[in-house]
């Protein structure tokens, strides 16, 4: 315990903890909607778009977040618009946009300096290298996202459960779809530094699918998903520090263990 308290005296650990908790919280909130709407892969797709955007920012020496956030938001809207067209599948759209973006990112990186340490950090995550400005951006955006989510909670549930009924009730479904896309895009960009572009989707998907196994209402799924996400992040970060392993991978490792635990628990709960 003393070691943990000592660890928290380090500024880099404080920054990592604040950013990680804020981002895990938001990722879990949006993850519930994406998992229930069968859009689990969108996080992965946008992560690759984020990689392309960051490569671009690094090459032209621009502020990373201010390049990545608008590009990922636009990509998220494009995915939404294409997948809404008749005959288009959400999965196919995500695959098209994400692979194209990844290829673009690789080309940009290769013709500049190659895969340097910055690109590596963004691919695999490095929560311990968060700066003070990262903390400010993450916390401010997370607070905005949580307020938006809480304000529109009932509508978001309605649209997640039955989009057609919402349309009939006169609800502007398109507006809420864009809101979901916007929140997802921001969470992906914020989470890339922590989890890496390759593992960002796990931050969104795992807490929701674990919570889904253990609950029977939307509200409890949201609450449990947030708790799982924040707890797994804290343990993942500690393991990462003590074992000198990448934080993102450690968090996913804990998710996997928890997922199997939840599967066994729900299996016996149903039998009982």
């Amino acid at each position: 315990m003393n070691i943990i308290v000592e660890l928290l005296n380090y500024p880099f650990m404080q920054r990592a903890l604040i950013c990680g908790v804020a981002i895990s919280f938001c990722a879990a909130l949006i993850g519930v909607i994406l998992v229930l709407k069968n859009y689990s892969m969108i996080g992965h797709g946008l992560g690759e778009v984020g990689f392309a955007a960051l490569s671009l920012a690094l090459v032209f020496n621009l502020p990373e977040m201010s390049v990545a956030i608008p590009i990922v938001i636009i990509a998220s809207f494009i995915i939404l618009l294409i997948s809404q067209k008749k005959g288009a599948s959400g999965d196919v759209t995500i695959a098209l946009v994400s692979t194209a973006a990844l290829a673009f990112g690789v080309i940009i990186t290769s013709i500049s300096k190659g895969f340097n340490i910055d690109v590596y950090n963004y691919m695999f995550g490095s929560v311990l290298s968060m700066t003070t400005s990262d903390v400010i951006v993450s916390v401010v955006l997370s607070i905005i996202l949580v307020i938006l989510y809480a304000f529109f909670y009932n509508r978001l549930f309605m649209i997640t459960f039955d989009e057609k009924f919402a349309k009939v009730c006169g609800i502007n479904v398109t507006f809420y779809q864009f809101l979901i896309s916007l929140i997802t895009a921001i969470v992906v960009v914020l989470g890339m530094r922590m989890m890496g572009t390759l593992l960002i989707s796990s931050l969104i998907v795992f807490p929701a699918i674990i919570a889904r196994k253990l609950t029977n209402s939307f509200k409890s799924m949201v609450i449990l998903s947030v708790l799982i996400s924040v707890i797994c992040f804290i343990f993942g970060m500690l393991f990462s520090f003590f074992l000198n392993l990448p934080t993102g991978a450690c968090i996913v490792g804990i998710y996997v263990v928890e997922y199997f635990g939840a599967s066994i628990w729900s299996h016996f709960l149903r039998k009982a």
Binding site: L36, F151, F152, Y153, N154, R155, F157, M158, F161, D162, K164, F165, A166, K167, V168, C169, G170, I171, N172, R212, T215, N216, S217, F218, K219, S220, M221
Partner: protein, 221 residues
């Protein structure tokens, strides 16, 4: 008073004319059954009425606010593991376009009333997938009725349900029609289970093939 008028309505689905030149006038307080073979255009007509289906030509004139129209879809919930309780689902029915997305005290009074009316008080905290088909359809009906509609539009609400549940649901609709004067438009295949009086039958086969009293329609068959 006419609450809905459909004028020369034509609508296509997957490049196929699902309904053509449909003309119907609906009076307040009517009980209308839409019948016809599969693919006759019943569902397309219903979806056009509630704005889920685009029209190629024609008009739908509503003399009723959209807030006073409720819709019950087919009994075809695909994901029974969806984590939502009956209460969470019913309460979505109070949501409207021009109001804040929060539930008020008066909404919870409506919730109590609708649960008493449909006798579902004991199941409101259960997950939707744990309920029987009949209970599930009552929850979906409760979600529509909590809007305090003047017109309810149902698209084959009993498809896949057994005869007893079907009869039970039709009894509830008859009661709402006679006691509360609710206007009902329902696509159905089970005309012989409907015991309500003064039922108007509209038989579809892309266009309107019959429009008259249920007794006359049964006499034709």
């Amino acid at each position: 008073m006419e609450i809905l008028e459909i004028k020369n309505l034509t609508s296509s689905y997957d490049n196929h004319e699902a309904i053509k030149d449909v003309n119907i006038k609906i009076e307040n307080g009517e009980y209308i059954c839409l019948v016809g073979e599969n693919g006759s255009g019943k569902s397309t007509l219903i979806k056009a009425m509630i704005g889920l289906q685009k029209k190629d030509s024609g008009e739908i004139i509503k003399n009723i606010s959209d807030d006073k129209i409720a819709y019950v879809a087919q009994n075809n919930m695909k994901d029974l593991s969806f984590p939502a309780t009956a209460k969470e689902i019913i309460m979505t029915g109070v949501q409207r376009h021009r109001r804040l997305p929060f539930y008020r005290k008066s909404d919870w009074v409506l919730f109590e009333n609708v649960c008493n009316m449909l006798n579902i008080k004991d199941i409101v905290n259960r997950q939707i997938g744990e309920l029987s088909g009949g209970q599930r359809q009552r929850v979906i009906l409760a979600r529509a009725l909590i809007r305090e509609p003047e017109l309810i539009i149902l698209d084959e609400p009993c498809s896949g349900l057994d005869v007893n549940i079907t009869k039970e649901l039709y009894d509830i609709l008859e009661k709402l029609h006679t006691e509360k004067g609710l206007t009902i438009i329902m696509a159905t295949h089970d005309l012989y289970e409907i015991k309500a009086k003064d039922v108007r039958v509209i038989c579809m086969a892309t266009t309107v093939k019959f429009d008259g009293k249920i007794e006359d329609f049964k006499g034709l068959e």
